[in-house]
């Protein structure tokens, strides 16, 4: 089975660039655990998929190697940061892809490309060999055309890894069985009140509401749930992720591998580091490194990083309280469909708002899926399902039921409606 691997995971014999100039020409001497597990499952790695530089972005426009386009409309973005992975699968260049998701980077590209994308429970898939953006949030997961494909890929890469101290030693949830079961009768499904309303495109909201109604028809009990602290998720995320990234990306200093600028025999190490980082990193990466460096500075730590960690705890508590009442939570995956290339490059805040619905699951470490539920103005709309930690199978159970009912109603899969390239 061939697969496109996001260029943030190491694989021997191929360069790993993370979409950045600073890693130009670097061939990692080791396989990521995800890569090793794929190879062990006889998966053929077709190549590395483009991405926003160091997974920072929601459009795959922030790649030093050029932008990736959405197969549904080549003038639009394929989502990000795993946009190369989502475009490859939607364009039928690869049947499967691996993405990584720090704030929605698997689910949002899956949503805007009409695919199934899953961020597993934090600790469910090894991060060894995943070049870290934000260590406490990053998680690799599957991008596929169907829920079953996603489940098979999920099962192949998941499981405890002694090389990753944050990997959890417990059995992989029965995702493949759950995808086959596709039943929701008796399940309680919570609609998150805070993830709807203003800022959500009418077409996106309409497809979401129809899907919720369909789940009710299939026998699920629908409940409205409030998660009040989700309103602070975006702000907390944009402190925690940049803080960790400012430290994680410090190692790219021209001393040991990758790009080296200014080593003219005169410049000292500090100057070579500085010049290389100036040339090697793109503007979004620099923006986040500066933001994170500031947030961690003494005198500001408590007000920013410390406060963000408290919000994170409150969001986890919102999830815990909600999961006492319901089996899964649902929301739109993104507030909008794919936007035109270039539309938000000069407006970082508008770009960050793409991740409004997806960020809470990363902050709490819970698993979440985006499953396609139809089109708005001819472009795919994603439906997000979130489950308690280590209950990843529930995503597949609900997603599988929804996918089967929608395909049956439509008479074909959503991707069959995609325009020919």
């Amino acid at each position: 089975m061939p697969l496109a691997l996001k260029d943030v995971l190491t694989a021997r014999g191929m360069p790993t660039t993370c979409g950045s100039r600073i890693l130009e020409g670097w061939y990692p001497p080791y396989d990521a655990t995800v890569t090793a597990r794929l190879r062990a499952a006889d998966v053929v790695i077709l190549g590395k998929a483009n991405m926003d530089e160091f997974a920072m972005g929601s459009s795959t426009e922030n790649s030093a190697y050029g932008a990736t386009r959405n197969p549904w409309d080549l003038a639009r973005i394929p989502g990000g940061s795993s946009g190369g992975s989502s475009a490859a699968v939607a364009a039928f260049e690869a049947p499967l892809a691996i993405g990584t998701d720090t704030g929605g980077s698997i689910r949002q590209p899956a949503a805007v490309c009409g695919l199934v994308g899953v961020k597993p429970t934090y600790g469910g898939v090894s991060r060894y060999g995943l070049v870290a953006f934000s260590s406490s949030l990053d998680q690799a997961g599957p991008l596929a055309r169907t829920v079953t494909d996603a489940a098979l890929l999920h099962a192949a890469i998941a499981g405890h890894d002694p090389l990753d101290s944050t990997s959890v030693d417990r059995p992989v949830p029965p995702v493949v069985e759950a995808a086959a079961r596709r039943e929701v009768p008796g399940m309680r499904i919570g609609v998150v009140r805070e993830l709807s309303g203003e800022g959500y495109e009418p077409g996106v909201q309409a497809r979401f509401d129809e899907a919720v109604a369909l789940l009710a028809q299939l026998g699920a009990e629908i409940v409205e749930v409030s998660c009040p602290h989700f309103d602070y998720a975006l702000a907390a995320y944009y402190l925690i992720a940049p803080s960790e990234c400012s430290s994680n990306l410090a190692r790219f200093d021209a001393m040991r591998y990758g790009l080296r600028i200014g080593d003219d025999g005169e410049a000292g190490a500090e100057e070579v580091m500085s010049r290389t980082r100036d040339v090697g990193f793109g503007p979004e990466v620099k923006r986040r490194i500066i933001l994170g460096t500031y947030a961690l500075s003494s005198g500001y730590y408590d007000a920013y990083y410390g406060q963000a960690q408290k919000v994170r705890t409150l969001i986890s508590r919102d999830f815990s309280a909600a999961f006492e009442r319901v089996d899964v939570l649902v929301s739109p995956t993104t507030p909008t469909v794919a936007f035109p290339i270039g539309a938000k490059v000069d407006d970082p805040i508008a770009m960050y708002l793409n991740d409004l619905c997806t960020i809470p699951a990363n902050l709490a470490g819970v698993p979440a899926m985006s499953v396609p539920v139809g089109l708005s103005d001819g472009l795919p709309v994603g439906f997000q399902i979130m489950a308690p930690a280590f209950a990843d199978d529930r995503l597949y159970q609900v997603g599988g039921a929804l996918e089967a009912a929608l395909d049956a109603r439509r008479g074909h899969s959503l991707l069959a409606a995609a325009p020919a390239l």
């Binding site: 990692p28 090389l163 400012s246 190692r251 200093d253 001393m255 040991r256 460096t293 500075s297």
Partner: protein
């Protein structure tokens, strides 16, 4: 760097400490002797080919992740318990962020506000007085690589054309042991480091070789005016931190030199600058390091790649139960059991023979004899051969046998030295050497009395003097008999035999 505005008069040390009270705190880094590094499986062996003991983890390659070495945790807990610390039931690693080429990730995994061990103490004895030095904390961290600056005259970064980095040391587990500002003299500072070294050695957690850098010490020194009688203590003064002291002698000298330097500044009405300083062995003085006006902001935050460390009570208790006898306990026992003095213990400790003396006593020797032979004879031979006493080719049990032969009267001290020569030369055990070299004291009366007669006959003048009551004149006759006996007689026996024969 600014030049002092006034010419400083350097006070004598005694004068300085008469007016100012030194306040000294010590930060000691001990490289742990684990087989593998702190967060990966690479070897920690010293002296390997540069960059031969590295992997993606300790090189900080993109995507690599740390995994805690259990042995390092155990060693750190052992040190903490031996220093009477509380062991945290929950603690975390933190990232210390700064850029330096010998640091592969440009952050060091260390501990910040949640150290593994806190609030302990170590008792240090100097000239019969016991000083209790408070231990603020003991925490774990990873070592950095080593930079080699090439092309300059000094091997320092200044003047070098380029630098090479060896990452073999990167990731070796270190514990940092921080004292309270409890130390008040250079002698106590030195004794503290020495005691800590002995402690780590007895725990077998490190080879604590200061010259190889496996034990390094930074000394924080400040001065404050001694209060007049009845007045409260003055607040602490501004401190300097002298880095990387790599011998006990340097610790003492650097602290002493800082005291004199700071006293000169204060005497001249100048202020002490809070800065890092370096100690120059040759001049015996400290010099200012690259002092930045504001302190470096390390932007510590909890290490997200490692789960918090939660040690169970059972684990800590089990480690505590496995602790060997500590140096202080051992000293107390040796004094009580064998009647050694504190001085004896210091001498034997310095000579590296304490362990050997103990084993020799265990093999049957008296404490005094074991101490005498190891400290005087064998330590000297080891020094001559350029080895440690433990490396000599003689076992404590063999030394005990030699001592036994002396006690029996079969060997004199002089003969015993010859037996030791034989054992060290690989001629076998003491009994074999005695037999092979024919070294036993001759107790055969006929041979001895023949030799006595010969000696008297050969020196009638001396014999007459002795007969007339000048007993001290017998010396040359004793010498003659001993010579005739090739040393295999007991001089005291020979002497009394001569006097008896001469009727004196």
């Amino acid at each position: 760097m600014s030049t002092p505005a006034t010419v400083l008069t350097t006070p004598a040390y005694d004068d300085a400490v008469a007016r100012y009270e030194p306040v000294i705190g010590l930060e000691t880094h001990v490289e742990l002797g684990t087989a593998s590094k702190m967060f990966c499986g690479c070897s920690t062996a010293f002296g390997a080919t540069p960059n031969s003991q590295v992997c993606p983890v300790c090189l900080g390659l993109p995507g690599a992740l740390p995994v805690i070495n259990e042995a390092a945790i155990r060693f750190a807990v052992m040190i903490g318990l031996a220093l009477n610390c509380q062991i945290a039931s929950w603690c975390r690693f933190a990232r210390k962020n700064y850029f330096y080429p010998d640091m592969p990730k440009n952050f060091q995994i260390s501990q910040y506000d949640e150290p593994l061990c806190t609030n302990g103490w170590l008792a240090v004895e100097v000239e019969g007085e016991v000083h209790r030095v408070g231990i603020t904390r003991v925490h774990l961290e990873e070592d950095t690589g080593k930079s080699l600056h090439v092309g300059g005259a000094t091997g320092r970064i200044h003047g070098a054309t380029h630098s090479l980095v060896d990452y073999n040391r990167a990731g070796i587990p270190l514990v940092e042991i921080v004292t309270e500002p409890d130390v008040r003299s250079p002698e106590v500072a030195r004794a503290y480091v020495e005691e800590l070294r002995e402690l780590c050695r007895s725990l077998a957690v490190s080879d604590v070789r200061m010259e190889q850098g496996s034990l390094r010490c930074d000394a924080n020194v400040s001065l404050r005016l001694r209060p007049a009688p009845g007045e409260p203590e003055a607040p602490f003064g501004t401190r300097s931190e002298t880095k990387n002291l790599n011998s006990l002698r340097s610790v003492e000298r650097a602290v002493r030199s800082e005291i004199i330097r700071q006293a000169a500044l204060l005497d001249a009405g100048e202020r002490v600058v809070q800065e890092t300083r370096h100690f120059d062995e040759a001049s015996g003085r400290t010099s200012s390091g690259r002092s930045k006006e504001e302190a470096t902001d390390y932007r510590y935050f909890p290490e997200p790649d490692l789960a918090p460390l939660a040690l169970s009570r059972e684990y800590v208790e089990a480690v505590g139960a496995s602790l060997p006898e500590l140096p202080s306990q051992r000293r107390a026992r040796l004094i009580a059991e064998h009647g050694f003095s504190g001085r004896d213990l210091v001498d034997m400790g310095n000579a590296g023979v304490l362990e050997l003396v103990e084993q020799t006593i265990a093999a049957g020797a008296t404490a005094a004899a074991a101490r005498k032979w190891w400290l005087n004879e064998l330590a000297r031979r080891a020094a001559d051969a350029g080895v440690t006493p433990a490396e000599l080719a003689i076992q404590p049990v063999q030394v005990a046998r030699v001592i036994e032969l002396i006690a029996e009267g079969s060997l004199t001290d002089a003969l015993a030295r010859k037996v030791i020569d034989g054992v060290l030369a690989g001629e076998g055990g003491p009994d074999e050497v005695v037999a092979a070299r024919g070294l036993a004291v001759v107790t055969d009366d006929s041979a001895l009395s023949a030799a006595v007669d010969t000696a008297i006959a050969a020196a009638p003048d001396i014999a007459d003097k002795v007969r007339s009551g000048k007993l001290n004149a017998v010396g040359p006759l004793v010498g003659a008999v001993m010579k005739a006996m090739k040393g295999q007689a007991d001089a005291a026996t020979v002497r009394s035999l001569l006097l008896e024969r001469l009727g004196a």
